[in-house]
């Protein structure tokens, strides 16, 4: 009678499972790779600890002035003391609630739109919100209707950065759509104007357009139309952004199949009906990821308004570190502002990557 006896199973070699296998495949797959790993790890060992010491372990967090920041590292107490300046600029402290309310309202609208997904009235609600919100936000930030007026030269910091970016994207949208349609139009003169405008704007740096808006624009108007400094920058940014949005939307328009145009013509829609009911909804949907991409670029560009004398969040570094209590703390200021902007921009770029994946029609392997 034969009896089955289990053999002692041999374990797989240590180099082909577990952490060793991972190390071997990912860090030491060849001699070159191994040398590279070791030298890069050594460089990181040299550079990371001093950075961490500066930023955290040797840093001062609670002091009341520069001279009390005695440790070798960063002086974050400066950032903590100036945090209101970084966020609200010169906005009067007793009115901070107005800024907070305006942003809370925006967040509420975004959350509401997500919750209402799939409801019939969602579309109408979105349109209503987009038409109402800018007006409400303007009254909240600027004043009027019983609220004390706060002039735009008191606006600043992150608030101003976000206002400029938001106005830039929303205001440039209608103009961008018109330009994109114009560039696709069969009418030669319209097309010529659109092409000239778009290529001109895209060919020059934003800073020259901001100079133009802040120095030359006032000369174009009669003297009674005294245009506010912030408004001038906003006009410049809007005109600039419109050209880029136009190119993005043109990409969407080109992706709509010709059959859609012909079908809309065939059922007897006029131009406006054809565009607003058939073509643009499809074209805009296709271009959403690129619109977000262009918004990210715009958000980065808003820092340029400091060159024409507006106090956005970046300008606050120079301003606050010239306070005699906190002289020479630019580095901490720049790092702090970089961190804030990086968090905003990084999450937006992740979001746009996400959208791109969701909207992509490529075959997934």
């Amino acid at each position: 009678m034969s009896v089955f006896k289990a053999e002692i199973q041999q374990k797989p070699p240590i180099a082909s499972v577990g952490i060793f296998a991972w190390l071997r495949a990912n860090l030491f797959s060849s001699l070159f790779s191994g040398v590279l790993t070791v030298s890069v790890a050594y460089l990181l060992y040299l550079s990371l600890p001093p950075l961490a010491n500066w930023a955290l372990f040797n840093a001062d967090f609670v002091t009341s002035s520069n001279t009390e920041c005695t440790r070798q590292g960063a002086c974050w107490a400066y950032v903590i003391e100036k945090i209101d300046l970084f966020i609200y600029g010169f906005y009067p402290a007793e009115s901070y609630w107005r800024v907070q309310l305006a942003f809370a309202l925006a967040l509420f609208i975004i959350a509401f739109m997500r919750l209402a997904r799939g409801r019939q009235w969602r579309f109408k609600a979105i349109i209503l919100a987009f038409l109402m919100y800018p007006f409400v936000a303007f009254v909240l930030l600027y004043g009027g209707f019983g609220l004390e007026v706060i002039e735009t030269h008191q606006w600043g910091g992150l608030t101003l950065t976000i206002v400029v970016a938001a106005v830039g994207i929303i205001a440039s949208f209608p103009l961008g759509i018109l330009l994109a349609l114009g560039r696709q139009s069969k009418m030669k003169i319209i097309r010529l104007f659109s092409v000239l405008y778009i290529e001109f704007i895209r060919g020059v740096p934003l800073i020259t357009i901001l100079f133009m808006a802040s120095v030359i624009l006032p000369l174009f108007f009669t003297e009674e139309m005294n245009v506010d400094k912030l408004l001038r920058a906003l006009i410049g940014i809007t005109l600039f952004q419109a050209a880029y949005i136009a190119e993005v939307i043109r990409g969407g328009l080109q992706a709509v199949p010709t059959g859609q145009f012909e079908a809309a013509d065939a059922i007897g829609l006029n131009f406006i009906q054809k565009m607003s009911l058939v073509i643009l909804p499809q074209a805009l949907k296709i271009s959403i990821p690129n619109i977000v991409g262009s918004f990210i670029a715009l958000f980065k560009d808003t820092t340029l308004v400091l060159i024409v004398g507006l106090f956005d969040v970046l300008a606050m570094v120079g301003l606050s570190s010239s306070d005699e209590n906190w002289l020479g703390r630019e580095t901490e200021g720049y790092v702090f502002v970089a961190l804030i902007l990086w968090i905003i921009l990084y999450s937006m770029s992740k979001y746009s990557k996400n959208l791109e994946r969701r909207f992509s029609t490529e075959h997934k392997i």
Partner: protein, 390 residues
Amino acid sequence: MARLRSIFSFLYKNEIRAFLFQLLALLAVAYFFYSAAGNLFTNIEKLGFRTGFDFLNLEAGFDIDEHLIDYSTTSSNLRVFYVGLINTILVSFVGIVFATLIGLIVGISRLSNNWLISKLASGYIELFRNIPILLQILFWYNILLISLPHPRKSIEFFDSIFINLRGIYLPKPIAESGFIWVVLVFLAGILLSIWIKRLLKKKHDSTGVSGHISGYLLLLLVALPGLLYWWLGSPLHFDYPALKSFNFQGGMSLSPEFLALLCALSIYTATYIAEAIRSGIESVDKGQKEAAQAMGLTSGQSLKLVVLPQALRVAIPPIINQYLNLTKNSSLATAIGYSELVSIFAGTVLNQVGQALEIILMTMAVYLTLSLLISLVLNIVNHKIRIKQR
């Protein structure tokens, strides 16, 4: 009512509508320019500004630290324009070279199968492309200003390179009369090598015999110019910087403004170039690499003959666009005061003569020309690298 409609029925013709619509647009644009120009001239008259381009011949009256062409305070405003233009081109060109190098390294590292290297590369990309370029310029400038030593305590290398708060001082090469011949021979060597390379390729295509170019390269680019240089008696010497009272004199110097701008521009643009290179390489179909392997090409041959030609077709157009962006971004130097076009011409000169319209239009024209040139190059490149169908 019906009759009225039939009278106006011509309005329903597409051609006529299009014509009327365009006429309307033309009139609207013309009116806009007319009224804007009208306001402009009354306002300029009221403010007492001069108009026209006469200001270009006036004396500038301020000093510029960095100029590659002769400049002094008595030079004209036109000279300032040229100095600024040359500095813009200089920083853009050097920036493009560095951005391409860094971008190439990071882009390839991003695809490395070494985990550490690829994570580091993607960390670099995510970190620097999500921080506004202006912030990066200001940051590096600030770091340079607080970390560089006073001129008296300069960091030295070999008694000829000095680094301090005023910038980097390097020996300046000065060519004597014969040196031009060495340069000419070297340039001729490059042309000849290209010709030989073509000849060798033709021979390889028709006979299958491959020749090596390295010997010719050594002869044409190193040996011949070197021999000539020695024969002419080394017609090149260096002017070394030396400390005189407060600062270094002689040699050539790179200012901290230039270095900060260069650093920020190349680090920032490199992230985009790296992404372009990565997406180019990733765009090559997996089947192409497998086919190359199946044909028995080595991995080096497969990269050189199959993957790269296809990857570059995707990667080059966005990279050229980034070159244009870098050039446009160099205008942000005005925030730290590097003497490029926007900073000294649209900044200092504008403040002095106040003729904003003329000056800003000239500045815009420069950038427009540059971007048209770059799109021209892009078109030519696109034409060259397009897929050639049978």
